[in-house]
């Protein structure tokens, strides 16, 4: 695989959420609003990239029987480290992230990429793979956050879009279902449907 593909493919043909169907859990939990979705997207990208590099460097020393535990230790250490640094130097960002920091450890994309890629590849491609998958995850997360906040709360990044457009005056109402996790799942389903009808080769026989 070419290095540029490592960055490009996760955006469409190998998107972690749409095609690998990884990281769906956090994608339902954090997309009720745009801001946490963006913050989560950035954090996951950073953690996947760093964890990929570290595990790739260690890959020849890791005994296969305990590899998952080793990966978990690496990821948790990174996440706690990031959390501590944010709390000390970027307190406001750390407040924004709050519960999501813990969620990063359980994000299937991190473990998935470590298992599938970093364990068998050199550090440089691993870094690119981590960044690519992080960004592929980010695109979907931000799209969901955008749709759910706009139609669920009538705001974007906290700015009252619908109110400024004067839609409430003519009988428009926010869709309460949009801010519930089930709607995120339905939206992901719709995006996967649209994505597969465009990329027919992804459809299973």
């Amino acid at each position: 695989m070419k290095n540029t593909d490592l960055i490009k493919l996760p955006f469409s043909k190998n998107n972690p959420i749409l095609v690998q169907v990884l990281g769906v859990c956090s994608c339902l939990a954090v997309t009720a609003q745009l801001k946490p979705a963006v913050v989560m997207a950035i954090s996951v990208t950073v953690v996947v990239a760093l964890a990929n590099v570290i595990v790739s460097l260690l890959r020849n020393t890791i005994p296969p029987r305990i590899r998952i535990i080793v990966q978990l230790v690496v990821v948790s250490t990174l996440v706690v480290l990031v959390d501590q640094v944010l709390k000390a130097y970027m307190y406001d960002v750390s407040k924004q992230l709050s519960v999501f920091v813990g969620l990063i450890i359980t994000n299937c994309i991190v473990m998935g990429r470590l298992e599938a890629f970093a364990m068998v590849q050199k550090p440089w491609p691993s870094l690119l793979d981590g960044i690519g998958n992080g960004l592929g995850y980010s695109v979907i997360l931000i799209a969901l956050g955008f749709l759910r906040e706009l139609f669920g709360s009538g705001t974007l990044w906290g700015y009252p879009v619908m109110e400024k457009l004067g839609l409430y005056g003519i009988g428009y109402e926010n869709n309460g279902l949009m801010i519930m996790p089930p709607m995120a799942l339905i939206l992901v389903g719709l995006i996967i449907w649209a994505h597969r009808s465009k990329n027919k080769d992804l459809i299973e026989q």
């Binding site: 080793v70 501590q84 709390k87 709050s98 068998v120 309460g176």
Partner: protein
């Protein structure tokens, strides 16, 4: 993936070394960042208290503004605060996932002039909404004269003891109601109550 065979003793030594290294990194980081983190937390508490009386502060000037505007007091060992023209009581309670807290400022007449809430890990976009200005604003003009304020679905705007609850955040809203009740229990002696209409009612009873 791995063609090598790793002996049991290698696996033991490897995993022990890995956790020791991880623990060492985290301990060093945690100890060295602690002063900065605690400074942020103290400044944040002061900023929250200042915000209830409409004083906007940054983390840098919070100390100074706090000293100018707020006096600390206590009622039978329970801390509260006074400012020129009223009192501020602290609120402590539990939400759905963890601790929630806040401050409620009353003017001399017993009317809420400002409030602020925060949480450790309520669901963002749902219960987490208690930390927004929009939610805090709902308390302005309410009273805690004869009974604590409680949160309610479709609250009556003219009832000084009812505040609109958060849609999708019922468990957190219940936590806020319980927190307000507990604070009323503790601080009813210092919450001003000079509403003529209510005092008349009291006399009748």
């Amino acid at each position: 993936m791995a063609k090598k065979n790793f002996s049991n003793s290698y696996i033991f030594i490897y995993s022990a070394a890995l956790v020791v290294v991880a623990a060492l990194i985290l301990t060093v980081v945690s100890v060295s960042l602690k002063p900065a983190q605690e400074k942020n937390q103290r400044a944040e508490t002061k900023q929250m208290i200042l915000k209830t009386i409409g004083v906007e502060s940054t983390r840098d000037n919070a100390d100074q503004l706090y000293a100018q505007n707020i006096q600390e007091a206590d009622l039978k060992g329970e801390p509260y605060f006074t400012f020129k023209g009223g009192v501020i009581i602290p609120l402590r309670g539990t939400g759905l996932w963890g601790p929630i807290w806040g401050y409620l400022a009353f003017d001399d007449g017993g009317t809420v002039v400002g409030s602020i809430f925060d949480h450790k890990g309520e669901t963002p976009g749902l219960g987490g909404e208690i930390a927004t200005d929009k939610f805090a604003q709902r308390f302005v003009g309410k009273k805690m004269c004869k009974e604590p304020i409680h949160l309610k679905k479709n609250a009556d705007k003219d009832n000084p003891y009812e505040v609109d609850a958060i849609s999708g955040g019922t468990m957190t809203s219940n936590g806020v109601t319980a927190m307000l009740a507990a604070a009323y229990e503790k601080y009813s002696d210092v919450i001003p109550c000079h509403d003529p209409a209510l005092m008349m009612e009291d006399k009748k009873q």
